[in-house]
Amino acid sequence: MKYEYNGNLLEDERVELVSKEIISKYPEIDLEHAEEIAMLEGRISTDPTLEIMFTRLYNIMLIMNYDKKVVKKVYNDIVEVLKENNDDKKFVDYYNVVLEIANYLDNKREFPFLEEV
């Protein structure tokens, strides 16, 4: 997925750009939800870090958690992102979140909020 620099954009422009990036990767997400996901995300003003990538994918799952098929797809992508960044200082925190999301996918719990993990 593209994580294009958007640090200089107005909020509406930023939401438009990010929602397009999300839809291009996950076409099954409709525009309204993609915009909501984009609103949740902060500005991107650096090269993409694990935090930036993780946050976006987590937000997608959070907003789309009514549709497990989408969540599964994003889940697998988030696992890949973690695998590629296993030396990041936030890896363990994010790994724990991902495990909880796996529990959610296995119907063992509600979708986890970051604050709880």
Binding site: K2, Y5, G7, N8, L9, L10, E11, R14, V15, K20, I23, S24, P27, E28, L31, E36, M39, L40, E41, G42, R43, S45, T46, D47, T55, L62, K72, Y75, N76, V79, K83, K89, V98, L99, A102, L105, F113, L114, E115, E116
Partner: protein, 589 residues
């Protein structure tokens, strides 16, 4: 070629069948097959096989339709006797209802194809701005087998409101190559090989010619022709505007520039001066770039220093976008002189060319930001990569000085190299010369909102060429850098102002999100101040504000999603607690 890591058996069969059919038509012994289902090795990977989505099936159907557009399905069967009609019909799971109505009779199939898929295909042509006669079996062949990384994206068609969106990475490359494979000499609209409509046809003519087509097909074609006309009209309008500009539009143009600058300054609170200086330097370079016989040294080559998070990239990008010139930002650390490690400086020119829509003239007036420039200084780091730094600096010397480069964009057999002249580019070498800045200022951290003393010290700070030479930049390279600018460090007051009033305040997204959820976010006055103080203490400029807002958002998510209160309040205590929690985590980490 398909990215899906785990396809179910049925989906795999579809794709392989499509490849087989295609290969047989072109008498190619293709060995491209989907890999076997990837073994899932990660214990937390979700072990589901992938089913083709509706979109995937549309893609596959279009893939098939691509070589059916010539309208004669018999050709395929005659060349590939093993393919049964049922195989093709199987692709149509997307239109199951319609297919169910079809018998295995070929004419029924053709009917479904004509009424259902041809309009989609034509819509697709319109969306991707390909000429209608461009999509041929050859084109599809090229797209699928010569551009394997982009094939799926190309066919992603999404309707966003009233507009379609093209989701094709590497779009320009593909378009260019497709252009080469299709003659565009005779522009018009073709149907089954015959030119039936010229580009200047009226809507009535189109409707008449296409009386036999569906309404949606006609709409697409009418719109297509109209957009081509508008494009031409705009072009001639722009040309005439250019001619009249000197006489009539000069005042308006100047007014427009002032407005642009005002907008930029409003956006970047606390950096108004550098916005203005950068704006005029870029403007001046853009004007020079249009002139001939520009003297060496007239063009500003800018060194932009500033602490992290003070908007070096954001301001540059904003000005660039306002001027509508192509822009590339890259870190110099990515490059090596030989191109064996990291990238090659010529990659920047390729990217610029792509970002300009493959308009060389425009690309040569583009803006290149070479970030992390301080890392190319000899004094930075341990010195183990001194030789590499030297060679990159030498290469930059030519690059910044207006060297001429030959760049190849695609496979060498397909592309003629492009001669790229860098003498009209605007270069901005951006860096955070933290140590130098510290040595030149006497600012000490001040707690609270007493930032006056700091600002007075920072104002006296300036870089001289000698400073850069002392840091380890070659004298010749420093000689090229003829304009020194710097962004200001943000005070707490600046951060508070950005948070509360800037058009790009990071809190805006959170407020909008909460309201989208039919709730209201109320932020106490002193909470704003707490956020600004916390951000200031993080010491990463305006980026710190984003970090604090991100943490607040995580804390509030459950309340936003599951809480019963319609009003969500952020007070100073909440901010303080959150900051305390952030600090504790940091210590633990």
């Amino acid at each position: 070629m398909f990215e899906y890591f785990s396809l179910d058996e049925e989906s795999r069969n579809y794709i392989n069948k499509a490849i087989d059919i295609f290969a047989s038509i072109y008498n190619k012994n293709l060995t491209i097959k989907l890999p076997p289902n990837k073994v899932v090795i990660d214990d937390i990977m979700y072990k589901d096989s992938y089913e083709l989505t509706v979109k995937d099936k549309v893609i596959l159907s279009l893939f098939l339709a691509g070589f059916l557009i010539d309208g004669n399905i018999k050709n395929i069967f005659s060349k590939y006797s093993d393919v049964k009609l049922q195989d093709l019909l199987d692709f149509y799971k997307i239109k199951e209802d319609e297919i169910k109505k079809c018998s295995n009779d070929e004419s029924d199939y053709q009917k479904v194809y004509t009424s259902q898929f041809k309009p989609i295909l034509k819509g697709m042509l319109h969306i991707f701005l390909y000429k209608i006669d461009m999509i041929t079996p050859e084109t599809f062949y090229f797209l699928i087998f010569e551009q394997p990384q982009t094939v799926l994206d190309i066919y992603s068609i999404l309707k966003l409101g009233k507009e379609y969106m093209c989701l094709c990475q590497g779009y320009n490359d593909i378009r260019k190559l497709v252009n080469e494979k299709n003659s565009l000499e005779t522009f018009g609209i073709y149907l089954e090989g015959k030119k039936i409509l010229a580009v200047n046809s009226t809507s009535e003519q189109i409707s008449k010619v296409y009386a036999s087509l569906t309404k949606s097909e006609r709409d697409i074609l009418v719109e297509f022709v109209r957009s081509e006309k508008t494009k031409r009209k705009n072009k001639s309008y722009t040309e005439s505007l250019d001619n009249d500009k000197r006489e009539k539009g000069k005042n308006n143009e100047e007014e427009h520039l002032w407005e642009m600058l005002d907008e930029i300054k409003k956006k970047f609170i606390g950096q108004e001066d550098v916005c203005e200086q950068l704006f005029y330097n870029i403007l001046s370079n853009q004007m020079l770039a249009k002139e001939e016989n520009v003297q060496d040294g007239e063009r500003a080559i800018i060194f932009l220093d500033g602490p992290t998070g003070t908007g070096k990239t954001a301001i540059t990008r904003e000005i660039t976008e306002k001027f509508g010139v192509p822009f590339v930002r890259t870190s110099v650390t990515k490059y090596s002189a030989a191109g064996y490690v990291g990238g090659d400086l010529e990659d920047i020119l390729k990217e610029l060319y792509k970002n300009s829509g493959e308009d060389l003239e425009k690309a040569q007036r583009g803006i290149v930001v070479l970030d992390e420039f301080e890392k190319m200084t000899y004094n930075y780091g341990q010195g183990s990569d001194l030789i590499m730094k030297q060679s990159v600096q030498h290469q930059l010397l030519d690059f910044l000085g207006g060297g001429k480069y030959q760049i190849s964009l695609g496979p060498k057999s397909l592309e003629k190299p492009i001669n790229f002249d860098t003498s009209r580019l605007t270069f901005i070498c951006a860096g955070a010369l933290t140590n130098l800045r510290r040595s030149k200022t006497t600012v000490k951290p001040v707690l609270g909102f007493d930032a006056q003393a700091q600002n007075s010290d920072i104002e006296s700070y300036s870089i001289t060429p000698e400073d850069l030479i002392n840091m380890g930049i070659e004298r010749e390279l420093v000689g090229r850098l003829n304009t020194y600018l710097h962004t200001e460090e943000y005070s707490k007051e600046d951060l508070l102002k950005i948070l509360r009033t800037s058009e790009i305040s990071p809190i805006k997204g959170l407020i909008n999100f909460v309201s989208k959820r039919n709730k209201k976010l109320v932020i106490d006055e002193d909470a704003y101040e707490e956020i600004a103080i916390a951000a200031y203490n993080l010491n990463t400029g305006a980026r710190s504000l984003q970090t604090i807002v991100n943490s607040l958002r995580s804390r509030l998510l459950k309340e936003i999603f599951c809480g019963h209160e319609e009003v969500i309040r952020i007070d100073s205590n909440m901010v303080r607690e959150m900051v305390k929690d952030m600090t504790t985590r940091k210590v633990r980490g």
